[in-house]
């Protein structure tokens, strides 16, 4: 299988980037998309060129480190899939595949396809936790959580922090990401004590980081690898309003 990769190259944060094209032969349909890029990098080394920088770690869709724009879509052509789970069987022989980094002002480019997503960590830092010290926990079954509630919390908690929701959003909003964490913790009895503080501080941090506001286009939930529903954003907004007025 042969494809043409059109890839964004940018030396560092300060420099200007541009697309470069690479014709790559010898691929197979079984290869993952990232394995195809690995293959391209080996070819680049063999002609003494600098390799393309792109991110990954687990390569099984759970760590959230991978993520690029492929032919205009976050994580490539399929809904609810990470870049590392994409396989070359999703492309045709001879295709041109355009690969770009996440584009959002809160995610500055570091090099080529690698961006800085520490803004997401900063949001978590402002309350994406339960303030209880190691060693202070009551017996686990003393806190009852019904199955439906536990399942709902788990649905939200599943977020892998990849940032595709931001990258795909025309407003570069991080609402889906932020809502997922708030709803996970605020819906559980353990998270109730700090519920108001959490929603106010995390949403405020989200704005401070330079993410845009949500206008409910629904683009995020389509790309979200974990299928986190946009209803989470509505729920977060309701919680926020309630916290603002009722404390």
């Amino acid at each position: 299988m042969k494809v043409i990769f059109k890839i964004w190259r940018q030396e560092n944060a300060a420099s200007k980037g541009n697309f470069e094209s690479y014709e790559v032969d010898g691929l197979t349909k079984d290869m993952s998309f990232l394995e195809a890029l690995d293959h391209l990098n080996e070819l680049l080394v063999s002609i003494n060129k600098r390799v393309i920088a792109y991110e990954y770690d687990c390569r099984e869709g759970i760590c959230g480190q991978c993520g690029v724009f492929i032919n205009g879509r976050a994580h490539g052509p399929h809904d609810h899939m990470t870049t590392c789970q994409l396989h070359m069987r999703s492309f045709e022989d001879g295709d041109t595949i355009v690969v770009e980094p996440w584009r959002a002002s809160a995610f500055p480019i570091i090099k080529d396809l690698v961006v800085d997503r520490s803004a997401l960590d900063n949001i978590i830092e402002k309350g994406g936790y339960i303030s209880a010290k190691t060693g202070t926990a009551p017996e686990a079954n003393a806190i009852l959580v019904g199955k439906e509630l536990a399942d709902k919390a788990m649905d939200a908690a599943a977020c892998i922090g990849c940032g595709a929701c931001v990258a795909t959003c025309k407003n570069s909003s991080a609402s889906l990401f932020t809502a997922a964490k708030i709803n996970h913790l605020n819906s559980l009895p353990q998270g109730k004590q700090e519920a108001s503080k959490r929603v106010l501080e995390m949403t405020r941090q989200m704005e401070l980081e330079g993410f845009g506001s949500c206008t409910f286009t629904g683009a995020c939930e389509v790309e979200c690898p974990e299928g986190i529903s946009i209803l989470n954003i509505a729920e977060m907004n309701a919680r926020r309003t309630k916290a603002k007025w009722l404390g």
């Binding site: 030396e11 560092n12 079984d30 290869m31 993952s32 990232l34 394995e35 690995d38 080996e42 080394v45 063999s46 003494n48 600098r50 390799v51 920088a53 991110e55 770690d57 687990c58 390569r59 099984e60 869709g61 759970i62 760590c63 480190q65 899939m81 789970q85 570091i110 090099k111 690698v114 520490s118 997401l120 960590d121 978590i124 402002k126 994406g128 936790y129 339960i130 209880a132 010290k133 190691t134 060693g135 926990a137 009551p138 686990a140 079954n141 009852l144 959580v145 019904g146 199955k147 536990a150 399942d151 919390a153 788990m154 908690a157 599943a158 922090g161 996970h184 559980l188 353990q190 998270g191």
Partner: protein
């Protein structure tokens, strides 16, 4: 002499006795002490957050862009605890016994007991942190079984247990960052350890964005850098997982224990091509309901669903009737290898076996199976394109976990004073084979409960000493060595890629030092690896420079360490002339092909000391006062 510092008293009282006698440091003094934690997985994040809560100043490092991505995130199946919620006869004692036996009696009684003892409070801890564990309708926690045990003691959060535990640990870490007690250094990779007058005093790291080398000094250094199974290249680990931190520590004097004890997991997705970079794990929990089989006829090319019941060989149920599909990993992997090697393998490359849910779906209904494993079936479909509700999965053994690691005593300190190793990167509780769902447990217990209670004993002394600074000439010397090492790599400018050499190493290790080993093969492997090392340093090409983000250089640095580690692993496997747990030496087996352990000669932990280009063996004798080692039978 290796002193494992096992406390006095009966097994049940050892940890309590230890805590009673351990030194304390008052809060005002804790503030003056700095601790470096390398790693942000369950072990590292748990330790860093808890040490910070106790008042120490903590710096935490990881190579990923965020602490939340440590490979603990990928654990699917669950975490064990002796809660006996299912009223099925579980207890701390039984869990201790299962773990010791599962490890084929190659671990310390006292450590294993402590692991079981602290498991219940750990579940309390995670529930309090908001981990959405699976629940019954009435609100209590659910359990399931894992391999090698006959009770249900595994807690889980859908098929994403590791992710949920790690996110809890990560959030606690960021809570302490906000409190300014933890400083985070993501995208920083440890390249060497600084030892001053015999004590660990700091590290040299590379900033992966700028390429700059940086020095950090501390009163104690904690390594929590995870497993090294990427030495096989193809494994269930993340691509960046490495052995560099523990290898560098080893070269600076820390003994490396049981390096060849590595676990091959029976249920991963089979390799389909040479270009493959990773083998995806299908959780062991699937073996609760899935049945493993191959066709009775060699080379049977019929579609799985058309092969009648009578022509299927459920070989685990046949060979191990009492544990069946839940036989421990080493045994299940070897049994798969035996069938595949004998020509009964299925799939395109004939390197797989079937994992079939047909009976489970008939028995419990589609909905129940979907609820239990839905996301695993989805993942299977994404990768293979096949719907496993309608036809059996194809699975195959893959390198997965390292029981071996830096030798540590009961306090989790290595043989370098002030250097601790926690989580998967140490050798502590799993012996020669780890039981499923015991590793998230061990990493968490080490980080949250053990280290924060043991590190004081050392730091109480550090308080009285001079605090190290990075101005010390030893920092200069070590940093220069790192620089030279990097320059040497960049200046080879040969004509082969780093991955080329990693594939070569992986092939040798998989062939000779994985599921079954023999003296001849291991000797050959050692010679071959030496050849690869030589070729690597003469023919590798690392393009780009060192003062920039350079992913090729990162890979090369990791591989250089894996190559040397491969030598030690083969040396260790060669030395141990017995079969135990995951270490199966073909020369030592029963007529039925089961492992033949030799307690008279090999009831010790091998701890290797680095000695220039060779390794010296030290032995920590294992004594069993509470359990009589028996032949490990799952029949």
């Amino acid at each position: 002499m290796l002193d494992s510092k096992i406390p006095e008293g009966s097994l049940e009282n050892k940890w309590r006795n230890y805590q009673i006698k351990a030194q304390l440091i008052n809060p005002a003094n804790k503030k003056k002490l700095n601790i470096i934690v390398v790693g942000s997985g369950l072990a590292g994040a748990g330790a860093a957050a808890t040490l910070a809560e106790l008042g120490y100043d903590v710096k935490c490092f990881c190579y990923q862009d965020s602490a939340r991505r440590a490979h603990s995130v990928a654990a699917q199946g669950g975490i064990n605890a002796a809660k006996n919620y299912q009223h099925d006869g579980d207890s701390v004692w039984r869990m201790f016994h299962d773990t010791l036996k599962g490890g084929d009696f190659r671990s310390r009684e006292a450590n294993v007991y402590r692991l079981a003892e602290l498991s219940a409070p750990l579940i309390d801890h995670y529930v309090q942190q908001g981990v959405p564990f699976a629940r019954e309708y009435g609100g209590v926690l659910v359990n399931r079984s894992f391999g090698g045990v006959q009770v249900q003691r595994t807690f889980y959060a859908r098929g994403q247990t590791g992710q949920q535990l790690l996110l809890a640990a990560y959030s606690q870490l960021y809570k302490m960052k906000r409190a300014k007690k933890v400083e985070m250094f993501p995208r920083h990779e440890l390249l060497d350890l600084v030892v001053i007058e015999g004590r660990a005093k700091g590290i040299i790291v590379r900033d992966l964005i700028t390429g700059k080398l940086k020095r950090f000094a501390a009163d104690a250094v904690v390594l929590a850098t995870g497993g090294y199974s990427r030495v096989f290249r193809l494994s269930t680990l993340a691509i960046g997982c490495n052995g560099s931190a523990i290898w560098k520590a080893h070269k600076r004097g820390a003994y490396f224990a049981a390096p060849s004890f590595t676990q091959i997991h029976p249920t991963a997705l089979p390799q389909t091509s040479e270009a493959q970079s990773k083998l995806t794990l299908m959780s062991e929990s699937l073996r609760n309901d899935g049945r493993i089989w191959v066709p009775k006829k060699k080379g049977d090319d019929r579609k799985a669903n058309t092969i009648p019941e009578g022509e299927r060989d459920y070989y685990l149920e046949r060979r191990y009737p009492s544990f069946g599909n839940l036989a421990p990993r080493d045994i299940a992997s070897r049994a798969a290898k035996e069938r595949i090697d004998a020509g009964y393998g299925v799939g395109r490359l004939k390197n797989a076996v079937y994992l079939d849910f047909k009976h489970a779906i008939e028995r419990f209904g589609m909905e129940t199976i979907k609820d239990r494993y839905g996301n695993l079936f989805k993942m299977y479909k994404k990768i293979t394109g096949v719907d496993a509700y309608n036809e059996p999965m194809q699975i195959s053994p893959a390198a997965h976990f390292s029981m071996g690691g830096l030798w540590v005593d009961y306090e989790l300190m290595t043989t370098i004073p002030g250097l601790y190793a926690i989580g998967e990167c140490n050798f502590s509780d799993h012996g020669a084979n780890r039981l499923g769902a015991n590793s998230l447990l061990q990493a968490s217990i080490d980080g949250y409960f053990v280290l924060p209670n043991t590190i004081n004993n050392y730091l109480a002394h550090a308080l009285k000493e001079d605090h190290p600074t990075t101005e010390h000439p030893e920092f200069e010397r070590v940093e220069n060595e790192v620089k030279e090492h990097i320059n040497k790599l960049l200046s080879v400018q040969g004509n082969k890629t780093v991955d080329h050499f990693h594939r070569e190493l992986g092939k040798v290790m998989w062939q000779e030092c994985a599921m079954s080993r023999n003296a001849e093969g291991l000797e050959k492997a050692i010679a071959q690896i030496k050849g690869i090392i030589n070729a690597f340093w003469n023919e590798v090409n690392v393009t780009g420079g060192h003062k920039e983000m350079n992913t090729e250089l990162e890979k090369a640095l990791r591989l250089a360490d894996f190559l040397e580690m491969g030598l030690l692993m083969c040396t260790d496997a060669l030395e141990r002339e017995e079969s135990c747990g995951a270490h199966f030496r073909e020369e030592f087996q029963t007529s039925e092909g089961e492992a033949l352990r030799n307690d008279d000669t090999y009831s010790y932990v091998s701890a290797w000391e680095y000695n220039g280009g060779s390794f010296n063996l030290h032995k920590e004798d294992l004594t069993f006062e509470n359990v009589q080692p028996t032949v490990r039978s799952y029949k």
